[in-house]
Every structure is written in C-alpha cells, then in structure tokens.
Homo-oligomer: 380 residues x 2
C-alpha cells in the first residue's frame, strides 16, 4: 500500500478538484468563457501579489518570465546588480549576459542571505545601475532574502528592483505595493498549487516606464503585448487554457483563505519543520530560512543521493536533493502550496525513519514531537 | 440538451482518456518516471515528424518554437525570405524583424499558395539568403503550401528551409527526411490532440550547423540546451509535466494508427468537407486547400461574426471566423486531430441549418449528402 507524497519545491501537489477541473473538455481560447477565465485569473493574481498593479501571464516556465523581465526592462550595455546566492540568482546573471547587459555580481556564500549594506555600497559606487535582480526564496539553498530592505534602497533611487519570487510567492511575504518592489516574477507550480506551464509577472509604473525605453529584442515574451491583450481577456498566442482553468481553482482557494493567512500558514509549517530538524540534532543549511522550503544539512556519513532514492523507493516520498555544488549534501523538504500540518508530520516522520534506516542515528520521535509542540502551542 | 462541439483549428478536442491522464497526481520533473515519459514522447514525435532527427520540446505556445527557430539559426543582419500568405507567415517576418534579421518578403494574395518559381527567382537573385521561412498550412486562410517543392530548391543550396507546421503537423503531409526539410516547428493543441502549452521542434544536421554559427540572443528558447537535456530525459527548466503526460496519450494513438494513415484520414475528412461546401453552392477560400482546416467564403449578405455567434449560442458549435482582413468574411471548419467521419457530418449538418437560420438559402441536405458520398465511395 504505497502512497506517494511530493515534498519538492515545485511541482507541488495539486488538489483533486483542480486535477478534475483540468479534465473538462477544452475550450477555444477566444471564447467568451475563456476570456472571462483569463480576466478572473489576472484579477485574483493581484491579491496574491499584494498589488494594485495589473498582472500578466505567459505560457512558459518561470524562467520565461525571468527572461521577459530582462528583455523588457533593459537595453544593450545597461549595468545591473545581480545577487547570486544560489542556482537561481545565477540564472539572472546568465540571462543578462546573453542579452549583453553588464552584470555586477554580488556573490553571497550559498546558505546565506545578501547583506543589504553590500547592495547599498554598490549602488552608491555605481549610480548608473539600472536594476537590482534579487530572489525572494533561493530555492536551491532555502534562503529567504530581505526584499523589503532591498526595496528601501531602490525606491529612493532610479533603480528598479526585480524579484524572482518563483518559489516564494504565496509562501514568503512579498508586499509588492507596500514595499515598492518594481517587478515580481513567479509561476504556477509552487505556491499556486497548479501544474507548471504558466509564468506570472507584475510591474509597477516605474517598471512600465523602463519597458518603454528598452531596446532588447523580445517577441514571445513581449510584456506590452501580454499586458495589453490581458486587459480584455484576449491573448496574443494560444495560451495553456487547461492550466488557466487549474490556476483559477488555486486562486479561488487562496482568495478564500486570504493571502495574509496563506503566508502565515506557510510560516507555521516552516517553523515546525525547522524545530523538528533541530530536535533531530541536524542543522539548517540556510542562515535565514524561507517559509517555502527547508534545506537540511546532512551528516557527512550520509550519502544524500542514496537517501533521496531510499525515501522514494521505500516510503513513496519525494524530497529534493541538493543542486550543483550541494548535490548529495543537503535534503530540501518543501512545505509549499497545498499543505497543512498533517503533511509536515508525514514529511518529518518519514525523514526520521529514513535516516535511521540509512544508518544515521537520530532520536526517533523527537522531530515529530517538536513539530507537534509548535502546532499545539501556536495558532496562526 | 446542448452538446458542445469544437471545430476550431486549435485547440482541438482532447480524447477523454487524455483528459483523465492529466487528472493523475503530478510527478516531480526529475523523477525516473518523468524522465522516461520525456524520452518516450521525444522518441514517438519522430514518427509524427517523419524523421530520424531528434525532436526537442519547449514549454510555450507554438510561437515560442517559431521565435526559437529564428534566434537559434540566424545572426544579426542575416538575410532571409519569408513567405507571407496570411497571419502566420507574417509572424515569421515580425519575429525576424525583432531580431534584426533582414526580411525579403514574398507577399502572396491571401487564399493562394506561394509559387515555388517566385522563391527560386529570389534565391537566384540573392545567393546570400540564409533561410526560407514557410508555412505548411496557413491556418488563417486554410491554404496548403507545397513544402516539397520548396525543399527541392533549398536542399541544393546552402539555404535552410524552416517550416511552421503548427497547425498542419499530422494532418497535412510533411516528410521531413524524404523531402530534406531543415527545420519543422509545431505544437500540441492541433493535430496532436493535446492542450496548448508545448512547442515541438526538429532540426536536421544542416540546421544544427547553423545553430553553431548563430549569434542572436537566446536563453529560454536555446535549442542546444533543450536538445542536450532531452537526450537523457532531463530538462533545463521545469516543463509542463501534465501536458507531457497528455502528449504521450496522443502519440500512442497516432503511433498505433500510423502517421501515413493519420494523414490519409485527415485527407478523407477534408475531401468530404470541401465536397459538401461545393454542394451547398459555396466556395472554398483557399485555392490549394489544406487537410487541416477548410476556409469557406461566406456570401456577402451573411454577417460572419453573427453567424459564428449563432452557431455557438444555438447549436453549441464553435467554428473559427476570419482573422485580420478576413474578419466576418470566412468561416473556418477544422477537421483536425481527434476527428472522424461522424464529426465532419456534425460540422456540415449544423453548418447547413445555421446558414438557413441566418437567412442564407442553401440546398438543405446537399452538404451532408455530398460528404456521405465521399465517405461511402472512398476508403483510406
């Protein structure tokens, strides 16, 4: 009786009513009902982005939204700061380089968050910096960056703050309007509890002004076309209608819960997970851990890849391993999207048993007990 | 008891077993089973492309595949021929222009196919032409272009033939290897009976050689990255896993039928539809009509938009209207993907009744009778 549990930081589990909504006969993308669907989805996304700005969507992975941000905001030879603290920060730099944008990197040790002071120093040294590219939750390390602090630096300067909130949106707080974040990029298969295939992007007026000045080539990811057509629920190219239907289900859930509650729930689950990790005598990889995913440093004697395989084969549990330089060294357990206390208990209890089975002695039961104490003591 | 019927040239109806396959719990994109799924899909696509070349996929609409073809094959200032005979031919030119590629257009009257002689003349005048951009079925007019004839011109020259087979693949014949077509771009929501959200592209060795020389910026649509990761079933970015599952179902059906039979079936359905149109005293818009979709010129007294709306409201039937300059002037009935004789009979019978209802006298029953005669007389 093997049951599968998915604890990867994307794709995240899809609620069954969403799965079944996708099993409806497909509709024409220019029908009245699809037009209404698109308008509804774009309206509800504003609540999740905590913004009054319009949101646009693209049929692509989140990386398509990231490429779009670079190609639509900048011009050849522009100078930008990229905060690199993991695989996804590096992706911003890779995209900028492809488009002949000059990157001034801030290299942060993996597992750490950027010091806002380091960004401020660079911004002062280079007043011609057009944008700062940051990451809300660096999925590869589980680190949460202090986007509010970065926004305090950019909003008083003619410098845009562009945030990859691919994994973090809906799990870690990101108050686009209150903090004055200029551009937020995310996608569907994380906190939005929808299969992968749609990127979602919001821009404020400063960002749209930059779009007007941009000379980089873009066609499919042209934000103006996506935005303008979205206003009347139309689309420039055939969109992933099925995924829009799914996204509407997810947004209905989040709007019903309320985004502040959604974020608090994620914080609650993350707090319990971190507490469990410590109770097991293990350590967190991230110095400032995100609500999205918990990265756990494995004891040196544990072969991380073997552990991930064991968990899947014996327990039906999918955790994520480490990427790039962290391969085999960490385990990442997501508490993201369609998750509550019961899922976290499953994730932790299986983790305990798996570690014992692979020969890493941990105080069995200590993890779930610690999580229980958090769940019992705190309400959200 | 209204039943809905979708006769648009994309999205096309999805078989119920595919809809239900998408309702399975989602899997991690780096799991063994997803890796196997990706490999299987890419292998089976070769059969549909009638090629031994490897096929790659992108999470995007078909237009993303078109942009990828331009960005991966060419360099700034390259000169290309674009055959413009409708909305989708024009799209090739728009993309090339965005990327600073010089376009020599061949403007073909909408409804007509390109004369290969016109292409040959230009190729001789401009021996430095890097590529010819063509369209298999121009969806906006229902025209089939003679790709085999174009390939005869390009295969003896150092000029690539790049074909938009977005709507035509699997319906109109395109023998990539036999004809020596260099690049074929398509996507899922047409002949492949899968929801929109994936583009599929095949390149031959000449095209890959051009990719090596290309200096245009590309990141998300980088064909080499997509191709190399596809070899071992991995992916550079989170793909639309759900749509890959659906695509596998569709490919199983097509491989079982056999691509030659699939194309013959589409030809059979198209022949019957054209015969019905003529029997009703109406005329085809395309001089060389495709198997994919039949574009019908409406009598001047018929308001095309009102007719499309009537068909949807009263009959539950979605046809496609005309686009751009053809808005209100034509009706397009697709016989594409998951369709057989019964669907065509429904499409034609409703068409007859709808025309009568909107005040356009046609010999009622003549259309379905003509279709029946085709179905009864010819086997495929």
């Amino acid at each position: 009786m093997k049951k599968k549990w998915l604890f990867t930081p994307g794709p995240t589990p899809i609620p069954p009513e969403t799965l079944l909504a996708m099993a409806q006969p497909i509709d024409y993308h220019r029908s009245e009902s699809t037009v209404a669907l698109i308008k509804d989805v774009l309206q509800k996304l504003k609540h999740v982005f905590q913004t009054e700005n319009d949101v646009l969507f693209l049929t692509s992975s989140g990386t398509g939204g990231m490429e779009g941000a670079v190609a639509n905001l900048l011009s050849r030879g522009d100078k930008v700061i990229v905060i690199q603290s993991g695989k996804f920060g590096e992706r911003w730099a890779d995209i900028c380089t492809v488009f002949d944008v000059e990157v001034i990197p801030i290299d942060v040790t993996w597992g750490n968050a950027v010091e806002p002071q380091a960004v401020e120093t660079l911004l002062t040294e280079h007043p011609d910096i057009k944008a700062v590219f940051a990451t809300l939750c660096e999925t590869s390390t589980g680190v949460l960056h202090d986007i509010e602090a970065l926004a305090r630096l950019t909003r008083v300067r003619p410098t845009l703050l562009v945030v990859d909130a691919v994994s973090g949106l809906g799990a870690d707080d990101l108050q686009m309007d209150n903090w004055a974040v200029d551009v937020v990029v995310s996608c569907t298969q994380k906190g939005l509890m929808t299969p992968p295939g749609l990127a979602v992007v919001a821009l404020n007026q400063r960002a749209w002004d930059a779009v007007e000045r941009s000379d980089l080539p873009k066609y499919y990811f042209d934000f103006r076309k996506a935005y303008e057509s979205g206003l009347d629920g139309s689309v420039p190219y055939t969109p992933a209608v099925t995924l829009l239907t799914a996204l509407q289900c997810a947004l209905d859930r989040i709007c019903e819960e309320g985004i502040r509650n959604t974020i608090n729930r994620h914080n609650h689950l993350a707090t319990a997970t971190r507490s469990a990790v410590k109770a097991l005598g293990l350590s967190l990889f991230a110095t400032s851990p995100a609500n999205t995913v918990t990265a756990i440093r494995l004891p040196e004697e544990v072969d991380g890849k073997a552990f991930i395989n064991l968990m899947l084969d014996e327990y039906g549990i999918t955790y994520a391993g480490g990427q790039s330089q962290l391969s085999g060294k960490i385990v990442r357990i997501a508490h993201l999207g369609w998750m509550n206390e019961n899922d976290v208990i499953v994730a932790i209890s299986a983790f305990e048993r798996g570690l014992m089975e692979i020969g890493c002695a941990v105080p069995i039961g200590a993890g779930v007990t610690a999580a229980q104490e958090v769940f019992h003591t705190f309400k959200y």
